[in-house]
Symmetry: C2
Subunit: 117 residues, 2 copies
């Protein structure tokens, strides 16, 4: 189970429509904490911006000036927050983003005027 209480599992209203419940605020804060880290944001964008929407772990571990173990840790945090998922093919792991989680965060934060009535 890679998705521990991710925001992707719940239905949220945009902030501008109604106050967040305590439970939704707790879940959303957990997901935002996972993404609120520079290296994790860069990893997420490296994966999300690939033309085929996925990246081999071998393309990610050499991307920044940090150890492979650190990259693995960040990938695990993103995965446990339901922001990315992985698939093993042969000897390599392939990562892709979970669009529904990103969309939930984006939709909740979208300000007035950008939210459909």
């Amino acid at each position: 189970m890679s998705n521990n209480g991710s925001v992707g599992e719940s239905c949220y209203s945009p902030l501008v429509r109604e106050p967040l419940s305590e439970e939704h605020a707790r879940q959303l804060a957990g997901t935002l904490k996972a993404v609120a880290e520079p290296a994790r944001l860069r990893l997420l964008s490296l994966i999300a911006s690939r033309a085929d929407g996925e990246a081999c772990v071998c393309e990610l571990t050499g991307a920044f000036d940090v150890s492979d173990a650190t990259i693995s840790h960040h990938l695990k945090v993103l995965r446990e927050a339901g922001l990315i998922e992985r698939e093993r093919r042969g000897t390599w792991l392939y990562y892709r983003v979970c669009p529904e989680t990103l969309r939930t965060i984006a939709d909740v934060l979208m300000p007035a005027g950008a939210v459909p009535a």
Copy 2:
């Protein structure tokens, strides 16, 4: 100056379009950290969801079961991240969200298919 290097000051591409630069990732992570806290998310939504788009501090301090000092601290963090702004009228402070900061975060995180070409 209440806006210390807020994401509202820079131009970002969506994650799905191109990898985030180190500098943009750092700025964005800072803003996301400010919002990645349950009480701050609830405060933000309390302010954002008001019909007139603003809330008196007197309406916020009684909203949760935490001290006024804690609410003040959270409001300061949100303000320093460029997520809300305040205005004094008479003896009260009034808060409103900064839609451009929320929109920047939402636009950056919006997944493929939801991003205009």
